[in-house]
């Protein structure tokens, strides 16, 4: 069929940061499909040079307003690895709990406030407040709980105050934790309502074979540190992040792009789930089954469902973590830090995929070099390749400009891109 398609989206809405989508099809031939990132760089990697080690988590947390906890924890892990500090069990558990709640907060924000409007034919969540108040209330309750627990453990839901190299400046009261344990048990019902709602939607039918990269689970679903694995069979240590990301610069983007075995790869909830399905909580595997989400799934729109599945998983895991924390005696929250020269890398699975921080220090603990590789930065090339395939395929299926614009926007949103973070 001869078809002409023009799509120009300037500053795509309902994503974090600034990106454009341009698609041009003439006589059924794809001339252009471009995911353009125009965000202004802030130069965090230069900013930190010459500053003391304790600046790293405090400042790099400001790379991103949505996953500031993830950045702070990746930064702390990198510094601790450089200074050979091993966090104790209590700190480890509290950090994972904190990170779980950031994941829940971020996933629920994305699913219910940014993605849902597309599935319900609305421009934003605001009209849904009147038309589907119950859903919005469930979503706000889930997100509210996640944020409250972040306050309780990290001191603040955004740019946490208690998280430091060596541990925490302050511990939560046990009574508070116990109360959160109860709230978490109750929130499962709300999550099920959201899950039921999503089973009613048909996500776009589109697949493109993709390499998926994530941390590798060993005893459980992976969150902080360890080896990195790809669905194409690569496995490396987190220290080798440069070989895993191979950053390069392209004209259409102020964020760098990445590649591994192929021209692009994907990170994020779908990648984690595809690579670590066996470690999901049993209840959660059932939910995945209801959506036909079985590894390895190559439909990028299923990242939304993977986020939903992970939301329930982190709640189940948090309930266990709180039980364990409550049954142990709290010890000193903070280890002593002995700064010195060295290099450290920290890899953390944040809501949108693997995040790497790396620092080099001189003998006084002053930062000589800093490097951060952001999940969305790793996804940009994959978004680009998906976009090309999607535009061609759906133009072929006879979709018009408006329909392709919506599908392309939904595709980019499915990755839950954090654009300003990827440019940093």
């Amino acid at each position: 069929m001869k078809k002409t398609i023009n799509v120009n989206v300037k500053h795509l809405t309902r994503v974090e940061g600034h990106g454009n989508i341009n698609i041009k099809i003439r006589n059924g031939k794809l001339l252009e499909a471009q995911w353009e990132v125009i965000e202004t760089p802030r130069f965090f990697e230069a900013m930190l040079v010459g500053r003391n080690w304790d600046n790293a988590p405090w400042i790099t947390g400001r790379i991103c307003g949505i996953c500031s906890i993830g950045h702070t924890l990746a930064s702390i892990r990198a510094v601790e690895n450089a200074f050979k500090i091993v966090p104790d069990e209590q700190t480890r558990k509290l950090r994972i709990l904190l990170k779980h709640m950031e994941t829940l907060q971020s996933h629920s924000l994305h699913l219910c406030f940014l993605v849902l409007p597309d599935l319900m034919n609305a421009g934003s969540v605001f009209p849904l407040i009147d038309s589907h108040k119950d859903v919005v209330v469930h979503a706000a309750k889930i997100k509210g709980l996640a944020n409250d627990l972040c306050d309780c453990i990290g001191g603040r839901r955004l740019h946490p105050t208690r998280t430091v190299v060596g541990g925490f400046t302050k511990l939560p009261a046990k009574e508070e934790l116990a109360a959160f344990g109860e709230r978490l048990k109750n929130i499962v019902k709300d999550l099920m309502v959201v899950a039921d709602l999503f089973t009613g939607f048909k996500l776009p039918d589109f697949t493109r074979e993709t390499e998926f990269v994530s941390l590798k689970g060993t005893a459980g679903y992976p969150f902080i540190g360890g080896d990195v694995v790809s669905s194409d069979g690569i496995q490396m240590r987190e220290q080798d992040y440069k070989k895993l990301t191979n950053e390069y610069i392209v004209k259409q983007s102020t964020a760098k792009w990445c590649r591994l075995s192929r021209e692009s790869f994907a990170v994020g909830a779908l990648a984690r789930l595809n690579n670590n399905f066996e470690f999901l909580h049993p209840v959660v595997k059932d939910i995945a089954g209801r959506f036909g989400l079985i590894p390895v799934n190559h439909n990028p729109f299923m990242n939304n469902i993977a986020q939903l599945v992970e939301s329930v998983h982190v709640v189940m895991d948090s309930i266990t973590l709180i039980d364990e924390l409550l049954s142990s005696k709290f010890t000193e929250p903070r280890q002593e830090v002995k700064p010195g020269s060295g290099v450290g890398v920290g890899a953390v699975e944040v809501p949108r995929g693997i995040l790497y921080h790396s620092y080099e220090f001189d003998d006084k603990g002053k930062i000589v070099k800093c490097d951060c590789v952001i999940p969305t930065g790793q996804n940009h090339a994959n978004i680009q390749h998906d976009l090309e395939a999607l535009a061609e395929e759906f133009a072929d299926r006879g979709k018009d400009d408006k329909e392709i614009e919506l599908l392309a926007s939904m595709l980019v949103r499915a990755y839950d891109p954090c654009i300003s973070c990827s440019v940093h």
Binding site: A46, G144, L158
Partner: protein, 267 residues
Amino acid sequence: MKAKESESKTYLGIPLYRPKVAFFEFSSCEGCQLQIINNENTLLDFLSLVEVVNFREAMTEKSDDYEIAFVEGSITRNDEAERLKKIRKNAKILVALGSCACFGGVNQLKNRFNNIEWVKKQVYGKHPIDTAPVRALEEVVNVDLRIYGCPIKKEEVEKIVLHVVLGKSIDIPKYPVCMECKANENICLFDLGEPCLGPITRAGCDSWCPNNNAGCWGCRGPAEDANVGYMKKIMKEKGFSEKTILERLDCFGGFAQFPELKKKGKH
């Protein structure tokens, strides 16, 4: 002008006029905007006070018809400056939202290097990239109201918006964080051997960091009559290095006008 809507909402029995508000962001982490939707308990009440006509991070519809513009982030490229000037033209009230907008925030840390080419090379190598020294909003346009903090405190924003809607005057604390910290009965961090900028930093955050046993980094900028020289002297007496003090003072840009900070880095 907006009779229909003003009839539908009331506050303490008084009919309210719902101003049209728009949110915009420049170079930032977008966290201050998120703070607006991060307070789930009061979000719906807050939304009933105003009519949101522009909020790219949350909605697809856009409009240039607004009265209050909340602007987050700092200006780091000329296209941003041009966009900001347009917003200024459209808005009756322009509010700088957060420390990036008020004084450059952490972004202005790149300004401490003399050579911007070195900064670019650190991140992009030889690849050409467009960037300029970081500016606060008020270095480009007139700013009517400032909401300080990195991040902003949601309660403060809600109070300010409510006051704008009610036509009440807005007062942001001029006294230092220490006052709030004392009222919160915290143990002073100096007694625990930690540095803290509470004595010279503008309050309003309810001593957020010291409440969590972490020292203040001055994200809200200087309190009225802040004596930075004296602060440095006290910190030195407590055994903190010049570097520790300066790194806290220059972190968010709020103290940039003080002579104690006029030094530049080696690049």
